[in-house]
């Protein structure tokens, strides 16, 4: 607790931090977690028009190997426990993009008894992406935002 | 240098065998066997038997060990794996084994065999010649054996046979219950 706090921001630590951040941000493998109509847009984002793999993101089937979970769609209370389980199974460092109005705040189904009013009630969210559903370009934009955020993270001096 | 490697390999070979003998969990025993088999292959290489060593790895490690692991994984329903044999407790078995080993080593040192320093060289061609000239009958018998083995294993795991056996077993149980 004390050592890293007392450590000044010297050039070595900063540079290594930048290198590590560079590695993390360019290799965001995402967990496929499509819940509703947003997941169609998520699939499109992986397709030819807006190629998500240009940024080094590849889809993975298992939470252990993925760094990013894109919650695409309406999260119901029944699914919430699964989401939490999957998020807890992911290895650190892990990031979350909440895609679409439904996962941001409940959206269209705000008044429904079965819908979680925002994914951030369950797991921490890094980037909120508005839209119903957001276009693939918007998802790319949010990925770039996330990359900027990761680059500015101070991983070694947490 | 050669000796150091030899001692390491020998320790692995004997240690793996002892692990198999002493371990209380089936997977550890299998691992000990694996270690022992690989080390024995290395001991073959020390004695210039490269073909036999590779055969050992190919057949034992790639075949027999995989089958063993398969069986372990498929039959992992039964948990109490290493119950000891009630007819033979550890101490009498140990006694028998120690007496056997002592006799064997005594025989080894009292036999007064004459040994020559070994010659190193490729062995594949000579083994092939022996198999196709002096030991041709054995070779053919082994091939017959392998065919018998294939057929036997196939018959043994035929689905209808197993299902029939299970079904009859279930019937007998029902009958017993009815009798009660």
């Amino acid at each position: 607790m004390s050592f890293y706090q007392e450590l000044p921001e010297n050039i070595l630590v900063t540079n290594i931090d930048q290198l590590l951040g560079w590695g993390r941000k360019h290799s965001l493998w995402y967990l496929m977690f499509g819940l509703a109509c947003c997941s169609i847009e998520l699939m499109h984002t992986g397709g030819p028009r807006a190629d998500l793999e240009r940024f080094g993101s590849a889809p993975r089937g298992t939470p252990r190997q993925s760094d990013l979970i894109i919650i695409a769609g309406t999260l119901t209370y029944k699914m919430a426990s699964r989401l939490k389980l999957l998020y807890e199974q992911m290895a650190e460092p892990r990031y979350v993009i909440s895609m679409g109005s439904c996962s941001n705040c409940g959206g269209l189904f705000d008044k429904a008894y079965s819908v979680v009013k925002g994914v951030d009630q369950i797991i921490p969210v890094d980037v909120y992406l508005p839209g119903c559903p957001p276009r693939p370009e918007a998802l790319l934009e949010s990925l770039i935002f996330l990359q900027k955020k990761i680059q500015n993270e101070k991983f070694l001096r947490k | 240098m050669k000796d150091a490697i030899f001692i390491l390999v020998a320790v692995f070979a004997v240690g793996g065998a002892l692990l198999t003998a002493a371990s209380q969990s089936i997977i550890n025993a299998a691992l000990g066997l694996l270690l022992s088999l690989i080390s024995i292959a290395a001991l073959y290489i020390f004695q210039s038997a490269d073909f036999v060593a590779i055969s050992q790895i190919l057949v034992y490690v790639g075949g027999v060990m995989v089958l063993l692991l398969f069986s372990i994984m498929l039959s992992s329903g039964s948990t109490d794996f290493f119950k000891n044999n009630p007819a033979m407790k550890v101490f009498p078995a140990l006694l028998i084994v120690v007496v056997f080993a002592g006799l064997a080593i005594y025989a080894l040192f009292s036999a007064n065999l004459t040994f020559y320093p070994g010659q190193y060289g490729p062995s594949t061609r000579e083994i092939g010649n022996l198999f196709l000239k002096d030991y041709i009958l054995v070779f053919e018998l082994v091939s017959v054996l392998i065919v018998v083995m294939l057929v036997g294993a196939g018959v043994m795991l035929r689905k209808e046979l197993v299902r029939k056996a299970v079904a009859s077993d279930g019937d007998s149980k029902d009958e017993k219950e009815n009798k009660k």
Binding site: - | A21, I26, L43, S78, N85, I96
Partner: protein
Amino acid sequence: MTSLLSENPNSYLIISVLIFSAGMFTVLTRKNILAIIMGIELMLNASALNFITFSFFRKSTLYSGHVFAILIIVLAAAEAVVALAILLAIFQQRKSVMTDDISDMKG
């Protein structure tokens, strides 16, 4: 005879005796069929090691030992295949791999 351990036949023979004893102990004390098969494999290996050693250090039997070692390997593989097939058939039926539970012949 050189002083090197790795060029002394007795060291190989002693290793073989030790491995054989371990295998024999396994076969004697265990109740599990899988463990018994493992013990048999160890014993077969020890004898194959003996064959190789005698073939390497005694000129009169050059390479015949290799042939026998290969035969042992093939026989062991065949034996293991059939034994494990029997074991799996028994396990599917009885849900047990202990020798006690399969002592009766009723199928």
